[in-house]
């Protein structure tokens, strides 16, 4: 009976709010006040209504109705645009829902009015029970507490405001952009009456932590199925269900593959020296020179040539003269002739035209032709065109100084050998390290200026350029190069994990760089191992702000999530940040004059429930037990 009446009541209220056709703002107030006054007046002149409004069945029905509407408001998409509703529920149902305000239950006039009726009924029932008498205080506090929360909420929804401040470091903002409840901006700026200055915006982070993540494909999408700390991954750890395992051997925060010389047993390996170059900024790097390998026996540092030879007489710098660029071509086994691009030469029964020269040849697969990557003679190449003397078809081919085996064209012509001499200016200064005698000879403009014994392990005090010194770390007659993984620093600049993978009996060692781009995939569609840092690392967003009144900063505060700033009735909340603009902070501003009433209601409700549902039953039962034992 009461249930039907409450449904009718809700329908009526929906109707009223439609007639008033004001679905927001003062319309609700009108509906609420109207309902309250009407209810109060009616209940005085009509005792039956009063009795009904304060009856338990009415309370149950009203609570049930609010319950059902609230649940409805979660099952039906709220605040969605009409076309979304139609798409989801069909046009008839959508129309129905819109008419009954079920698409925005919690802001509908009817829902609010039901809460208003609830507040009214609670007030009436408190009066009816004469709940101000001492034995009823629990009932009074609890029921009026709920009324206080509802009234406070009502005050807040009419007198409160919400706004937003977009602010950058150093900026002072003295008005707020008003927004709707859902955060969309209204067309109004409200002056605050004071200024808020953002002094600094900071993001605090949790300690950096790198982990191993295992991704596996499920329904075509990769998702994390396991995450292992570096400590845990020191033991053999399965990579998903691939049957493979891995373990971390060593993690390098700032990875560097260091070149190093080692003693070699291989009789074909040659002499080498490992130097260390100390730069003016305090950093140092290794420098390896190999006596027997062309191009690697010499290095230039700040204009000083460093050269390594084994035999004392293996090298003498030219005292004078520049070496010009020189191209020479020979039929294999025959005499060399010097050539220049653009010229034609007779060559052992052939006629050879030198077409072009590229110092750093690469083959451009798109353009289908050779081009030079740089002016540095890394891969000198000469394009020639040859044909038999006295006519016949000509054949074009590329000759490579560094890669003679690629020089031969497909034709039947002679095998040609190309030699290239890069142009060279004599070094102002040249340091020649002689391995056998362990000497360093200092040549100035090709003339010996000084000679000293090479110190192994030490640093040469004599700088070769301002601030640049070199030291000799190792000198070996038979050496091989090794690459030693190492870390430059303890900062996590370029993290790399050295891991072992085990599949059955086979164990392989690999380097896994950090980040999803360097993922290690096991099998075709198998799991993927990624070494990456923990992503949820933001601990706090902090806006250090000052309140500015007049020209003076009157208060300094730090706004973080869960710790708003309160000033002159406004609360300021840390609400937004921009990853690409770290001097920005988004501040939510709220003013709610109903808040003290709501909090008072919370306190009353809390005290009320503790008394009514915890203390009072215990007291009662204790009394009953006492009576029983007295009997």
């Amino acid at each position: 009976m009461s249930l039907i009446a409450v449904v009718v009541l809700w329908a009526t209220l929906t109707g009223i709010s439609h007639i008033s056709s004001l679905r927001a703002g003062m319309g609700h107030l009108a509906v609420l006040l109207g309902a309250a006054v009407l209810g109060a007046v009616l209940s005085v002149v009509w005792p039956g209504l009063h009795r009904w409004l304060t009856s338990i069945p009415f309370a149950v029905a009203l609570l049930g109705a609010v319950l059902v509407l609230t649940a409805f408001g979660t099952f039906v998409l709220q605040g969605a645009p009409p076309e979304e509703l139609v798409k989801r529920y069909g046009s008839a149902a959508a129309e129905m829902m819109t008419f009954l305000s079920l698409d925005d239950v919690f802001h509908s006039g009817a829902y609010r009015a039901l809460l208003g009726v609830l507040a009214l009924a609670l007030t009436l029932v408190t009066i009816k029970r004469k709940a101000w008498r001492l034995p009823e205080w629990g009932f009074l506090v609890l029921h009026l507490g709920v009324v206080a929360v509802l009234v406070g909420g009502l005050i807040g929804s009419f007198k409160g405001l919400r706004g937003f401040i977009d602010i950058h470091e150093g900026q002072v903002v003295d008005s707020i952009q008003l927004t709707n409840r859902d955060g969309t901006p209204q067309n109004e700026q409200r002056p605050l009456g004071f200024g808020l200055r953002l002094d600094k915006f900071e993001i605090e982070r949790y300690p950096l932590e790198y982990r191993f993540l295992v991704y596996a494909a499920e329904h075509g999408e990769y998702a994390v199925i396991a995450s292992h700390s570096m400590k845990d991954a020191a033991r053999w750890t399965p990579i998903g269900d691939s049957g493979e395992e891995f373990r971390l051997v060593k993690a390098y925060p700032d990875f560097l593959l260091l070149e190093e010389l080692r003693e070699s047993d291989d009789p074909s390996s040659g002499p080498a020296v490992q130097l260390r170059v100390y730069e003016p900024d305090g950093s140092s790097r290794p420098l390896i020179l190999l006596a027997a390998e062309k191009g690697r026996e010499v290095a230039t540092l700040s204009g000083v040539a460093l050269r390594f030879v084994w035999e004392p007489d293996a090298y003498k710098p030219e005292a004078t003269g520049e070496l010009p660029e020189r191209h020479a071509v020979a039929v294999q086994g025959g005499p060399e002739i010097e050539v220049a691009p653009g010229q034609t030469y007779p060559l052992g029964g052939y006629e050879m035209k030198v077409v072009t020269f590229l110092p750093d040849f690469i083959y451009d697969t798109k353009a289908r032709e050779g081009r030079s990557r740089s002016p540095v003679p890394n891969n000198p190449a000469l394009k020639v065109s040859i044909r038999k003397e006295g006519g016949g078809p000509s054949e074009e081919r590329w000759l490579f100084a560094r890669m003679p085996e690629y020089s031969h064209g497909s034709g039947e012509g002679p095998k040609l050998v190309y030699t290239y001499q890069a142009p060279r200016k004599p070094a102002e200064r040249e340091l020649v390290i002689v391995g056998k005698t362990r000497e360093v000879i200092d040549y100035r403009r090709g003339t010996e200026a000084a000679r000293a014994l090479l110190k192994i392990g030490g640093t040469d005090e004599d700088p070769i350029a301002p601030g640049v010194t070199i030291g000799c770390e190792r000198l070996l007659e038979r050496a091989e190069e090794a690459h030693v993984p190492t870390t430059r620093s303890i900062e996590w600049q370029r993290p790399v994990a050295e891991i072992e993978r085990r599949c059955g009996e086979t164990v392989a060692r690999e380097f896994l760089g950090a980040g999803p781009n360097q993922a290690l995939r096991v099998g075709e569609d198998g799991p993927v191992l990624v070494f990456d840092k923990k992503s949820d690392d933001i601990r706090a967003y902090c806006s250090r702000v000052s309140v500015v009144e007049g020209e003076k900063a009157v208060k300094a505060a730090t706004i973080v999530v869960n710790s708003p700033l309160e000033w002159r009735g406004y609360q300021f909340y840390q609400s937004n940040y921009r990853a690409d603009d770290l001097s920005y902070s988004g501040i939510l501003v709220v003013k709610d004059p109903g808040l003290p009433m709501v909090y008072a209601g919370f306190v009353m409700v809390s005290i009320g429930v503790i008394f009514i549902f915890y203390l009072r039953p215990r007291i009662r039962r204790a009394r009953i037990a006492a009576k029983r034992s007295a009997l």
Partner: protein, 267 residues
């Protein structure tokens, strides 16, 4: 398996053991066996406490952040409330029901384990975090016992305790009273916290709405028992249904279309 996974498996075995031992005691009508089930249940609580404590230490924060973590905590609360009721009213019949609930929670936890311990995001770094969650889960646990007792009341309406002449319905009512108190306090705390964190004490977020639905459902029950004819069966049915709302509030939020943007939904 990680150390925690092994311990959780062990914990499930312990709760299962208390359930089985209780059944054996009931079938054989042996008082001592039944009593043993209580001790096993209490031992399970110790293991449960250890798991939560270890995770607390390892995470460096209260382990109530993720669904998995709360699914370890919920059985703990159920066990605590059950043992308190045992102490107060000697309701040993709760052991198998509570053990089954704990098992269900832990089984779900094992299906949805966290791949790693997540850091506490800024919104959860609040003094309200622990009291809000703990109060709510104690409420959920007490309301679970009211649910279990309500079902017992529907199955065995005639049963009366020897000490107090009270039936299952009376004990269910007492559980609701305590649970409702905790539910209300948890709601108020959440509301105040919401004000500090987001600027609103109430935002019509789906989880909040369902907390309200749950609260209203128990209010319907608590007022309904004053209606003639609601005492007994209908009241107990409301009690059972209200707990369905509790479970939906806890676990069902992912099913709601309106919850996609919610800050409350367990990911």
């Amino acid at each position: 398996m990680s150390r925690e996974a092994i311990l959780v498996a062990g914990l499930m075995a312990a709760y299962a053991a208390s359930l089985i031992v209780w059944l054996l005691g009931a079938l054989a009508r042996r008082e001592r066996v039944s009593q043993a089930s209580v001790w096993i249940f209490a031992a399970s609580l110790v293991i449960n406490t250890a798991i939560i404590g270890m995770r607390w230490v390892e995470a460096g924060r209260a382990p109530f952040k993720t669904l998995y973590e709360t699914l370890l905590f919920y059985p703990w609360c159920v066990a605590v409330v059950t043992l308190v009721l045992l102490g107060l009213y000697r309701l040993r019949v709760l052991i198998p029901l509570s053990a089954a609930a704990c098992l269900a929670g832990l089984a779900y936890a094992r299906m949805k384990p966290d791949v790693e311990i997540v850091n506490l995001p800024p919104a959860l770094q609040s003094a309200w975090f622990v009291p809000h969650v703990v109060t709510y889960f104690i409420a959920y646990a007490a309301l679970f016992t009211s649910f279990a007792l309500a079902i017992l009341a529907l199955v065995r309406p005639q049963w009366r305790s020897q000490r107090e002449e009270a039936g299952f319905a009376d004990y269910a009512h007492r559980s609701v009273e305590f649970g409702f108190m905790a539910l209300t306090l948890g709601l108020v705390m959440g509301s105040v916290w919401g004000k500090f964190a987001w600027g609103d004490y109430w935002a019509w977020d789906p989880k909040e709405n369902w907390a309200l639905v749950t609260w209203l459902a128990y209010l319907v029950y608590l007022h309904g028992v004053y209606i003639k004819g609601w005492r007994g069966r209908p009241g107990m049915v409301v009690c059972v249904l209200a707990f369905v709302a509790v479970m939906f509030t806890y676990l069902g939020m992912n099913l709601l279309p309106s919850a996609s943007g919610s800050l409350h939904v367990y990911q």
